[in-house]
């Protein structure tokens, strides 16, 4: 009885939401004539670029095994807003300014074992010629790779650098130096310390993320914390084209993730957006991508929910339906927040197209999300292409509503 009532209220509020049209807005990169390589946050060039708000949702697909982190991030039912501006020029350069609220500046610093830094990342598909087959939002998927630029707030860190200067990689007390010589040693070590934690990765799904260390892709990234507003500004600038991606089109997809160090965020414990679109001002022909990525469907939500319960909920957990075993399949509480319509539909009809690799294969052996047959991954999920088209439509429209509905306080 109570459940019935609840679902009615739920259904109503969903209707209200869909009709209010709160869907992702296209980001328009403003064309400028100036150089934008290494652009700063306070540059006047940003002034006339239009700021677009995008929503960042808690990643719930997998739950990591850190108890304190999980406790700190138990609120998955509110989203965070990031504000983004974009610029480009004819010199093949593009830049993004991203702002997001974070009440605490966290820098992973000092001699600590459980401190974590704030951070942000931008993600681009390596191929988006077919906008209905974008890579999986969670770091891509097999055959649909992504390029990720990551920036974390860290102090100087020193990594063994492969230059063979091992004599500088020992504790100062293990040296034979005293006085002036010891100071020189300290200076040398400090010089080797990296003052930045900026990395680029290519990835084809969870666990496959691999750092690009040969300099074949480059981005300028900075993070600046505004104490007065309790807000981070992240700036990314890069060439539109390199051997991994080519953004020099009329429009291209982008996705954003942020990490809150104060909540022990790192890796999968993060907030992420769905694929967003950026169109380059003054260029024709980008509409197809924009409309495909922002497409929604309006089916019968009541039937969609019932069909979801009947067909999906025995494996997938959502914030409302929790009957499935915990590690059996991707958790879908925020799936509507970070998925495109095309992805949801494709997952139902052709689960093998994008297989979410999920947990470490040794962590939850009873629930393999895929089997490897002749070197090829086969999803554990059967295809639901036998469902009637209208039923699939209803399920997809229901799944699109599975996301946090309130902004984080």
């Amino acid at each position: 009885m109570k459940k019935n009532k609840l679902s009615k209220v739920f259904g109503l509020s969903l209707l209200a939401l869909t009709s209010s049209g709160l869907f992702a807005e296209n980001i328009v990169a403003m064309k400028i004539n100036d150089s934008i390589a290494g652009i700063k946050d306070d540059s006047e060039l940003w002034a006339n670029a239009k700021e677009v708000q995008i929503k960042l949702y808690s990643q719930t697909t997998v739950t990591m095994n850190d108890k304190i982190t999980n406790d700190k991030n138990s609120d998955v039912n509110s989203y965070k807003v990031a504000k983004i501006k974009a610029l480009y020029n004819d010199n093949n350069e593009v830049a993004f300014l991203i702002r997001w609220k974070d009440g605490t500046k966290s820098v992973q610093e000092g001699y600590k074992t459980d401190s974590y830094g704030d951070g942000f990342a931008v993600q681009f598909p390596t191929n988006f010629s077919d906008a209905s087959k974008l890579p999986y939002i969670g770091m891509g998927s097999e055959g649909r790779e992504v390029l990720v630029h990551l920036q974390k707030a860290v102090p100087n860190v020193y990594e063994p650098n492969g230059n063979g200067n091992v004599e500088l990689q020992i504790g100062r007390k293990n040296t034979n130096y005293f006085n002036e010589e010891l100071k020189q040693f300290d200076d040398e070590v400090k010089k080797l310390a990296k003052v930045d934690y900026q990395k680029s990765f290519v990835s084809a799904g969870f666990r496959s993320m691999t750092e690009i260390k040969d300099g074949s892709t480059k981005a300028d990234m900075t993070m600046i914390y505004n104490m007065n507003h309790g807000c981070w500004k992240g700036i990314v600038s890069r060439n539109m084209k390199d051997e991994y991606i080519d953004l020099n089109k009329s429009s291209f997809p982008i996705a954003i993730a942020v990490w809150d160090g104060d909540k022990n965020n790192r890796d999968g414990t993060k907030l992420l957006s769905s694929w967003q679109t950026v169109s380059l001002s003054g260029r024709e022909g980008g509409e197809a991508l924009v409309s495909e990525v922002s497409k929604t469907v309006e089916g019968n939500l009541t039937n969609g929910k019932a069909q979801f319960e009947a067909n999906c909920a025995s494996c997938h957990i959502t914030s409302e339906m929790k009957s499935a075993p915990q590690y059996m399949a991707p958790e879908l509480t925020n799936i509507g927040g970070y998925s495109t319509l095309a992805y949801i539909r494709e997952s139902i009809i052709d689960p093998n197209a994008v297989i979410v690799p999920g947990y470490n294969r040794n962590a939850h052996k009873n629930f393999e999300w895929y089997q490897v047959v002749d070197g090829k991954r086969n999803s554990a999920m059967p295809s639901f292409n036998w469902l009637e088209e209208s039923v699939i439509n209803d399920i997809v429209s229901y799944v699109q509503t599975l996301k946090a509905q309130e902004e984080k306080k």
């Binding site: 020193y158 990594e159 504790g171 007390k173 691999t210 890796d267 470490n360 040794n362 962590a363």
Partner: protein, 372 residues
């Protein structure tokens, strides 16, 4: 699962808690570069809180259905204790000796404290701990980057520092808390079972330096190895906290020999044992009772007949008889990969399933002796 498994057996009846193993490991691997607080090898007193503090309560490992359990990443100040140092250089100037940070906890903070009422039934014993190089490692299972791997050739569990991003889920996942975060390089590091030494015919530093000769090292599938005999043949060596579900490969001869208790008048209670059986059961499982019986009956047998292979093994008359490092095996692997063979730097311990030719005497001739 790896093809072969290198294992260690530690005889707790012989451990005197001298920390020589700890120092051997520390000076070899962890006294620098952000590893200062790490103890890849430590010796803790049981009962006690251990290192990190209360590690048995910090989660990780697997439940009965095989699912990885939640765990905690210990805090440096509260759980490990910040390594401190003293102002030795200022003592000559008349300053008082003071630590540079207020000591709060450390690797042998509660050494020799134990439990019970002195002198009637107080007790403690030592447990040296290294990474267990588990068959089903919690750290490996927790890693979202597949940065931790188990070597096929000997089951040594290692971190690929190139892939590691310093997320620290491995630390939460290891129920023994034997993988550590290096804040200087922002990556996880752990005991490597001294694999560069092993491949060159040297036992792990902790095992070679052990003055009590408590540590045996060899391959479990090598039927002539001491570890095979103690673990599989005589079944007197048991893994620590096997209930965590990680299938550890460091085995312990439980402390079967402890003094008897005293009664209120200070008289020996004949047949009593200060170490409570339930504590042993908590650490080593129900099998521990059988082990206690076996060891006791072997001691009786030795008294009666002068013979006992188990006791001969455990006494370890020759240091070189504690290790079977199978150099030919590693060389075979190197050869199959087109790498140059690794010549042993010390041939005393070079024997094993695939290395049968080195005789005890020729070994000594080759190395110009060697201590016993």
């Amino acid at each position: 699962m790896s093809k072969r498994q290198l294992a260690m057996v530690m005889d707790l009846n012989k451990c005197i808690g001298c920390q020589t193993c700890t120092v051997a490991c520390k000076t070899q691997w962890t006294n620098r570069n952000g590893r200062e607080y790490m103890y890849w090898n430590n010796v803790e007193t049981y009962p006690g809180k251990g290192y990190p503090k209360n590690w048995m309560e910090l989660g990780g490992g697997f439940d009965a259905s095989g699912d990885l359990l939640e765990g905690v990443v210990p805090n440096l100040e509260a759980d490990y204790g910040v390594p401190w140092d003293y102002n030795y250089e200022s003592l000559a100037l008349g300053e008082t000796m003071t630590p540079n940070v207020e000591p709060t906890w450390g690797p042998n903070w509660d050494e020799d404290v134990g439990a019970g009422a002195f002198p009637n039934d107080n007790y403690f014993f030592y447990i040296p701990r290294i990474c267990n190089h588990c068959t089903n490692p919690g750290c490996l299972s927790a890693c979202p980057r597949d940065a931790i791997f188990k070597r096929d050739q000997d089951g040594v569990v290692l971190v690929d520092l190139d892939r590691c991003q310093g997320y620290r889920f491995c630390i939460a996942g290891c129920p023994y808390k034997k993988i550590y975060f290096n804040p200087k390089i922002s990556k996880s590091e752990k005991c490597i079972l001294c694999f560069p030494r092993i491949e060159k015919g040297l036992p792990p530093a902790c095992a070679q330096q052990c003055v009590g000769r408590i540590r045996f090292v060899g391959f479990l599938d090598d039927e002539d190895s001491q570890v095979h005999k103690l673990v599989n043949k005589y079944k007197v060596a048991l893994p620590l906290r096997s209930d965590y579900g990680t299938q550890p490969n460091v085995y312990y001869i439980p402390p079967t020999e402890a003094p008897a208790k005293f009664d209120a008048e200070g008289r020996i209670i004949e047949g009593s044992n200060r170490i409570p059986a339930e504590e042993l059961e908590k650490l080593f499982g129900k099998e521990v009772h059988g082990v206690v019986k076996t060891i006791k009956s072997e001691i009786e047998k030795r008294k009666a007949t002068g013979k006992s292979e188990i006791l001969d093994l455990l006494i370890a008359y020759q240091h070189s008889e504690m290790f079977r490092l199978d150099n030919n095996y590693y060389n075979g692997i190197a050869k199959s990969k087109g790498l140059s063979a690794v010549a042993p730097v010390d041939t005393r311990y070079v024997k094993g399933l695939n290395t049968k030719t080195v005789s005890h005497f020729s070994t000594h001739a080759n190395t110009g002796g060697g201590h016993h």
